[in-house]
Amino acid sequence: MLKDITLGQYFPIDSVLHRMDPRFKIIETMLFIVLLFMGSSFWILALGAVFVLLARQLSNIPMKMIWKSVKPILHILAVTAVLNLLFIDDGDVLFQWKLLKVTEGGITTSLFMMIRIVLLIIGSSLLTYTTSPILLTDAIESLLSPLKRVKFPVHEMAMMMSIALRFIPTLLEETDKIMSAQKARGATLDNGKLTERAKALIPILIPLFVSAFRRAEELATAMECRCYRGGEGRTRLRTLKAAPRDYIGFAVCLLFLAAAAVLNILL
């Protein structure tokens, strides 16, 4: 039952977007988010939509996967839409019932918000669909490296993230085993009231924690045996290198941002 939790949502195919430098992809995603929040005009959203469509085209991620990324937020979308619809009082009143009224402004705002959130989600999913967790970690380490000057432990943080990624499947497997073992001894995990079920988790969590600590200690020894001594003087097998396509992508991104700025002034 725990087996089908996939790690991250990396979609392993080959595409231009997949091959792009993850550092650029992270910055570009951020710029895209900035773009979406630059103004309240539908033209800006249209610009954002064009950008997302372009990125999807370059990524070869099937539409089905894009839909899958939006699906979990549908109810959040519905709630925001309803709230905006009911509480924004702006423009002609279209419909009124006691205290509740729907205005023209409410409709436009709720539509605007919905599209903005959908674009936001699709844009950031494209980053995680096309970049493996390891590359993401490497990119974050590289982007944050200026913080080393102020003694922020950038390497240690990245190391912790990648070790966490490495051990998630191992610990999931272990949880499965412990659950089976406890079930075999008559523990009921799947039914009962919420409080009972929460209590039933204790005999699973405790052995899991104990074993996680034991693993951590063994791993630390094994790492030391392989001459690990922190980030100082450490080289990497794979170094991130920017290619011409990364600069082109970045330029396109800036172009979109500039267009949005111009639109903002004009409208």
């Binding site: 967790p133 191992t170 020894t221 045996c225 450490r234 080289t235 990497r236």
Partner: protein, 290 residues
């Protein structure tokens, strides 16, 4: 041949803690005066039952533990000297029992690259070492797999590759097959033997499987923190009673020969493999027929 590992009158005690966390006055001696020297390029098995001190000894070779008394030298370097720490760990790589707890990265080749990365090797050279190491353990085809996709034996081979990528002169394996199925055990043992024969890497194998120890050039039996026996496998296994007294088994064929001898049948003392046993029995039957 020169010695790569040299232990001189090694004594080590574990400090146990009282319930409230303060150290107990009495320390428990684990290693009591171990002197041993291991030749370059040799394949030595260290045998002993649980709690005999064999793993503790292994940890001394890698400077994870330092002796309370006596000295351990690795390639002439004193393990008690902090300055030598990384040089020693690079010379003498260590492989542990649980492959899951020694694999650091989420991709096989990244994990093998871990040690050379730590040593500050240039990226091109790391690539070369990683490829060589993976080929040496026959895991090259799996280089871009995630460790979780591999079997126990394969994971342990990746762990061995991770140590070989440091280009050590010596590898110490602390019960590397204890958590594996028979097939994984075979894979790992084949790999270890190949590394020893083809690459000339000194192997120190800590084990309690007699069949594995029988593959070594030399067996050291440790019992109660002391070296009990130290000889070639045939001579060690010939001492069936001594071994059984300290809680160790001998290979089944050796035991069979031993039992036959007790029954007054004249069969060689030093049988350690099934083939030898078959040959010896055949010869016996042949002789009786005449």
């Amino acid at each position: 041949m020169s010695a790569i590992i040299e232990a001189k009158n090694l004594v080590f005690r574990y400090q146990e803690n009282e319930e409230d966390g303060t150290p107990k006055k009495q320390e428990i001696p684990v290693l009591k005066d171990v002197s041993l020297s291991i030749e370059k390029g040799s394949f030595t098995a260290i045998l002993g039952h649980n709690g005999s001190g064999k793993s503790t000894f292994a940890k001394h070779i890698n400077a994870i533990l330092v002796p309370d008394e006596g000295k351990v030298y690795v390639d002439g370097m004193d393990t008690a000297d902090e300055e030598n720490l990384f040089a020693i760990r690079q010379k003498a790589g260590m492989v542990f029992q649980n492959p899951d707890n020694q694999i650091v990265a989420t991709i096989v080749e990244e994990d093998v690259a871990f040690a050379p990365e730590n040593l500050g090797v240039a990226p091109d050279e790391i690539r070369r070492r990683v490829d060589d190491a993976l080929k040496a353990v026959k895991m090259y085809d799996y280089r871009s797999h995630a460790p979780t996709q591999l079997s126990g034996g394969q994971k342990q081979r990746v762990a061995i590759a991770g140590v070989i990528a440091m280009q050590p002169d010596c590898i110490i394996l602390d019960e590397p097959t204890a958590m594996l199925d028979p097939q994984g055990r075979q894979e790992v043992m084949d790999t270890i033997r190949r590394l020893n024969r083809k690459k000339g890497i000194t192997v120190v194998l800590i084990t309690h499987y007699m069949e594995e120890a029988a593959l070594a050039d030399r067996i050291v039996v440790i019992d109660d923190g002391r070296v009990l026996l130290d000889d070639v496998p045939k001579k060690v296994f010939a001492q069936v009673e001594t071994l059984q007294r300290v809680g160790l088994d001998v290979p089944q064929v050796t035991e069979l020969a031993h039992l036959l001898r007790q029954e007054g049948i004249e069969i060689e003392k030093d049988i350690i493999s099934a083939e030898e046993c078959v040959a010896a029995l055949e010869a016996l039957l042949e002789k009786n027929r005449k």
